[in-house]
Each structure stands twice: as C-alpha cells, then as structure tokens.
C-alpha cells in the first residue's frame, strides 16, 4: 500500500474485488472451513456461479477445495489458504485506507 489515497484503489486485488468472490472470501475468512452447500446458502449464488468463482479462487491458490465424507454425506470442503487470508487482509487494509482518506 503506497498511501496515495485514491490511487491506491488501482492496487486493489481484482480477484477478491468481484462482489461474489468478496462474499465467498469474507465468509471463508470467518470460518475454519465450509462446504459448498453452506457457501451457496450464505451467498445466495447458483451452483454454477459459485462453482466458477471457487475455481477462480482456487486457481490463484486463495483457497483449497477438497472432497470428503461425513458419514454417507459427501462434502465439498473449501478452506482459505494462508495466501488467501493475507490477500483478504491486504484488500481490506487498502480499502479501509482509501475510504478513510476520502472521508469528508
């Protein structure tokens, strides 16, 4: 973060900045891990939409997706990686500094 006020907005992480992905990352930041159904219910996204955003976040290694079973119930577990947590913290720090600087 350079401390240039409004110009800092250009350095926002676009991978997180997209609203649906921001919802997903915020939710995952708040938990240890969550499964696909939980995220879908909390974010109110369609299966396809959620799936596509999760894939994008997984591609940049912000989260890991693993398959597991709880009894006979299959789970698609999502967990934010260390890199993902740092990215979210960086994103929120930038956003906060910009909104603070531009406050009237």
């Amino acid at each position: 973060m350079s401390g240039n006020g409004i110009k800092d907005l250009s350095s926002l992480d676009r991978m997180i900045h997209e609203p649906a992905r921001l919802m997903i990352v915020t939710l995952l930041y708040a938990v240890e891990e969550a499964d696909f159904v939980y995220l879908q219910r909390e974010c109110a996204l369609t299966q396809g939409n959620l799936s596509s955003h999760l894939s994008k976040l997984e591609r940049v290694r912000y989260l890991t997706i693993s398959k597991a079973f709880k009894g006979k119930y299959p789970l698609t577990l999502c967990r934010l990686t260390k890199k993902g947590r740092q990215a979210f913290e960086g994103y929120s720090a930038t956003l906060r500094s910009v909104t603070k600087a531009s406050a009237v």
């Binding site: 159904v37 947590r85 720090a93």
Partner: protein, 238 residues
C-alpha cells in the same frame, strides 16, 4: 486491526450460531437433564429389587452416554439432517485446544495466522469463562434448592439458571425466550404449587426436570422450525 470488522464479525457470528440452528444441542442437553432428574426420582425410594436396579443402571448408562458422547450424537444427527439441507461449516474456535496449540507452534512467524490464532484463543478463553459461570450458576441453583428449605428459593434458582444460560450462550446462539423467561416462571410456579413435603434431593430433581423439559421443548421447537424452513433439496449435479 485492519479488517472490515463488522462484516467478518457478522459472518463469524453467523457461523457460530449455525451450530445451534437445528436445535440438536439444546435437545440433547435437555434429554441429559431429564435423565438425570429421572435417576434422582427413581433412586429416592431406595428400591433394591433386581429390576429396579437394572432400570436405574439403564438410566445412568443413558445419561452418561449422552453426557460423554454429546458432541458425537449431535454430529451424527447433523450429518443426517442438517448438512444435506443447509451445509457444513466449522466456525473459528470450535476445534480442540490441542489443534490450536499445534498450529501455533508451526505458524507463529506468520502475522496473519498468528493474528487469527490469537483471536481463536480469545474465543476459547471467553467461551470457557462463560461456560464456567453457567456451571457455577446451575450448580448453585440445584444445590441451593436442595439445601435451602425456603420454597421461594426456586424463584432465585430460576433467575440464576436463566442468567447462567444467558451468559453462556448469548454470543454463540440466538437467545431463546422460552428458556430465558421459562426458568424464572417455572421457579414461581414451583414456589407456588409444589408441596412443602418435597424436600432435599427431590427439590433439585424437580428443578432439573423442569430445566430438562424447557431445553428439550426449545430444542424440538427449533428443530421443527428449521425443518419447515429448510426442506431437503432435490439431488442435483454440483
């Protein structure tokens, strides 16, 4: 801290409350209280026939099974009813202490992780403090009812139990008015209607039975509400 605290905090709180959304924890806790009360009622006559001993042992076994395996029982029920409907999430601070300590040892160099883990430790410590307060309040209420012969102590016990439950659960799960208002009201009811001949352990047993009934009823109502709001989704390809 540089995070958008309100959003993350809300998400965290929702995840913590999600553990109790189906009412299973309350229902099982109520069942445990009811079994304990049943055991106290059943053993008061000092019956020593083989059948009464067997029944007494069965009640004790069921009670211990519920108390010692509460988490596993709740998890078993959730796996069949909750997770297929509304999904699965582990809120922060829910894993065992040992897991956190192991993580801490590995990740203390990382600021992000150490912030997160120190927050988790705070959550643990806070939860432990609140649980301890509840245990002390409930024990005071039960033993006080047994030992203090004044029948109006039931009202004080009700208020004490209500305060204990409120302190322990207010941050983790939605407060149930049935329980919060129920304990003092039941205390007033018991002080008014219960016979003076009810003394000693029987008074504690009555209190436990009403507490168990309230928890159980609250759990059942929460479960019914949950099932009505969240029907089982039709299987589709994800």
């Amino acid at each position: 801290m540089l995070l958008p605290r309100s959003t993350v905090h809300t998400a965290r709180q929702r995840a913590s409350r999600y553990l109790y959304v189906d009412g299973f924890s309350t229902l099982i806790a109520g069942l445990g209280c009811l079994l304990m009360a049943l055991q106290l009622f059943y053993s008061r006559d000092g019956r020593t026939t083989p059948i009464s001993l067997l029944v007494s042992l069965l009640i004790l076994f069921a009670y211990l099974a519920i108390m010692l395996r509460q988490r596993e029982i709740v998890e078993w029920l959730k796996t069949r009813i909750t997770y297929p409907r509304t999904g699965f999430a582990i809120p922060p601070g829910f894993e065992d202490d040992s897991v956190v300590h192991a993580d801490l040892a590995l990740l203390t160099v990382d600021e992000t992780e150490s912030n997160r883990l120190s927050e988790m430790r705070q959550v643990y410590a806070d939860k432990k403090r609140r649980m301890l307060f509840m245990i002390v309040a409930v024990l005071l209420a039960i033993f006080g009812s047994m030992l203090i012969p004044n029948r109006w102590f039931y009202v004080a016990s009700g208020i004490l139990m209500s305060a204990g439950v409120w302190t322990a659960t207010r941050r983790d799960q939605p407060l149930s008015w049935l329980i919060l208002a129920g304990f003092p009201l039941v205390g007033i009811g018991m002080a008014t209607f219960l016979s003076d001949r009810v003394v000693g352990p029987d008074r504690g047993a009555y209190l436990l039975a009403t507490a168990g009934s309230l928890f159980f009823l609250d759990g059942v109502l929460t479960l019914i509400r949950y099932l009505r709001r969240n029907p089982l989704p039709r299987p589709t390809q994800s």
